[in-house]
């Protein structure tokens, strides 16, 4: 393989011979169309055609995973599955994330030979790092902004998700800061609704955070949800910075790669990436995209944190899948020291003190944001006790102390374990 080729690995399912099906993908996503045209010379194919680099056959199925696919006339009704790696010359799409996406995840999910097709992974040549630069803060920068080392950032999501006024949000943040929280984010449903305008909310929240910082020296990181049109996002980022804020959140699927990249180019704060809508890409095993591939686009474009769900979450995702995603965020994308684009995985969704030890054991790292909404807000003794229960749970996790035992002398943790036992 020459280093300037882009590679992508897929899971495919087809009733046609695997080699033919793979060639159809390669043809359709490079020089070909449904019929040979005059200009598609051998020389042009040699220079620009995508290549099938590897194919590993997997178990077959007797029925198609998805409807609508074609099958050979009089052919056997066997649906063969394989992992296929394609490669493209970089000259086809250039060093451009939007155009890479149109190439590796464009018009191929619908191709007739396939009753299933998923993008599993992608390998970007180093030229992408030169142009896109990746996360500005990443793991180390986020820790520096928060002043937290050696343990996860304990975080929360403003709850109720939507409906609090700016003033009430500021009061809640003051409580949370008082309780010792490291990180607070808006819910993804809360951006700039007329009942809680972004500017008012930001001002109320930053007043509370700055007041706490003046008193204690600890600056809580607030991921203000700046999701909106691009001019709004840029203006809101500047406003966050002007008020001393250190982070801005965007709903990635709502804003798209170019807007994220434009934000990264001017942002002076960490960018917190929320993946809501991710279920469209992930829920069906037969279509879509793996998180491994998905997060690489956003990391290159400049995100600093990305959501990975959490253990025993309120969604459908398995614990194995969650941990694979989290590990991937911490895995270098490029073998260049200090330029691997590692980002903070954000554990969120039904999280509470309970999951801390298993999360640490499975990840093997304390580089993460552990965000609990209800897991803090619904603590029987209030949000301050909720935060303390999390700090205690992570002390136990990091020192290897059994959680129940550690809770005996720590009432906040004990109450949290009781409250959330049923989940």
């Amino acid at each position: 393989m020459t280093p300037d080729r882009l590679r992508a690995r897929y899971w495919i399912e087809t009733a046609f011979p695997l080699e033919d099906a793979a060639e159809t993908m390669a043809g359709e996503q490079s020089t070909g169309t449904f019929t040979r045209v005059y200009g598609e010379t051998d020389e042009l194919r040699e220079r620009h055609a995508a290549r099938v680099e590897q194919m590993v056959e997997k178990e077959s199925a007797s029925s198609p995973s998805l409807p609508g696919a074609g099958k050979p006339k009089n052919g056997p009704a066997v649906y063969r599955r394989a992992e296929v790696t394609l490669s493209w010359p970089l000259a086809n799409m250039g060093v451009s994330l939007p155009n890479v996406l149109a190439t590796v995840a464009g018009n191929l999910f619908e191709l007739q030979p396939f009753s299933g097709l998923r993008l599993l992974d992608i390998t970007f040549p180093a030229a992408f790092l030169d142009r896109y630069r990746g996360p500005q803060f990443g793991v180390a920068g986020t820790r520096r902004l928060c002043g937290v080392e050696g343990r996860p950032l304990i975080g929360t999501i403003i709850k109720p998700s939507v409906g609090l006024s700016a003033e009430a949000t500021g009061e809640l943040v003051a409580c949370l800061a008082e309780g010792g929280i490291d990180f607070i984010k808006d819910d993804e449903l809360q951006a700039n609704g007329p009942h809680c305008p972004f500017t008012e909310r930001l001002e109320a929240v930053m007043r509370a955070i700055n007041k706490h910082a003046d008193k204690t020296g600890k600056k809580v990181m607030y991921a203000a949800n700046i999701t909106g049109e691009l001019d709004e996002m840029l203006e809101r980022q500047a406003r966050v910075r002007a008020l001393g804020g250190t982070c801005a959140m965007v709903s990635l699927n709502s804003v798209g790669l170019p807007a994220l990249h434009a934000l990264r180019n001017v942002s002076e704060v960490a960018i917190h990436g929320h993946r809501n809508g991710w279920g469209i890409y992930s829920r069906s095993p037969a279509i879509g995209m793996s998180y491994v591939a998905y997060q690489k686009f956003w990391r290159l474009a400049g995100v600093d944190h990305m959501h990975v769900n959490g253990l025993k979450n309120k969604f459908c995702e398995s614990d194995e899948s969650v941990m694979e995603s989290a590990r991937e965020c911490l895995t270098p994308m490029f073998a260049i020291a200090g330029r691997g684009c590692e980002i903070m995985p954000v554990f969120s969704s039904g999280q509470s003190a309970k999951q801390a030890p298993d999360t640490f054991r499975a990840l093997g790292s304390a580089d993460l944001i552990f965000a609990c909404g209800g897991g803090i807000m619904a603590h029987p003794d209030g949000v301050g006790a909720g935060v303390r229960s999390l700090r205690q749970a992570w002390e136990a996790a990091l020192t290897g102390a059994p959680l129940e035992e550690y809770a005996r002398t720590r009432p906040e943790l004990r109450l949290a374990l009781e409250k959330f036992a049923g989940r």
Copy 2:
């Protein structure tokens, strides 16, 4: 229903009581989380909670469509299906397409009670039209730019998809213009690769188009693929305009709503929306989004043309689905005269002279772009004959003349029907 509520209709599948499942969706996407928190007062719920407006039960299934969903303990293994309509107060998300997307298509596809969940439709309050304005050119504006009335725009896609030099592309465009084409688009794989830089290609193409226009008065519409980072897209749009071009193409899923909206705000040319990657949203019947819902976001954001696939296409989509999509593009989104945001449906994918009569019969309108790549480029007598075969096919379609009969005295059409008979 008060007019300032946003409504969305879903298809759901669940092993839980339908009412409970629908309430979970509504709660999760508005005021709720997995446990009741202090701030979620009755008054706050009254003002901000999403409401279940309607539920129509459909046939049940004995096994789940998607893996990973929960089911009631000791409950019956029946997966009930329904169409559910939810509504939200506009105060929750404001008049903001990215935030609407995070609300109606955010963290709900993964909710544990659901073994299937698809967004079927969305109804935007008129406030969105005031802010977003929708397509700048739409159907009438596109016709005006092309000087074509009373019949479809006959179009083509530059093929080979990728690999031609700028010079060779210009030569091909000269041939196509000579042949009488109305509309030419770049392939979505061809944007600004180093072997065929955007600027060089645009210059070569516009030279050919302008020369033809000077000679004949007919200005061919060229949808130049400007997909890239936002600054690039804006600069390329300006360049298209400066050279007398009338259209720019973007890969919608690659650029996202805010970048499309930013482009619309300054564009002086029609915006041609390519939906590559659409299979991720559409291939599984149990997850994703209908084209009906999908295209409304892009129309509001300002797209003028959108791809709908074509009859007997090379993909998996059924003819019924294709025609439903095309009709939707021509259906007003708002009941305000002249402001319905209608756009040109673009038929493309394995199209040739063969499909013209059925397409016209099924759509009941000539307001469409009929784009044939191989269907023109692979014509045995060359691209000029390919274009003429399409013009003839549409004459037959519009006058109701049987295609085979019409072809008897028209050799270009006859050869096209022979060449593409196997498909």
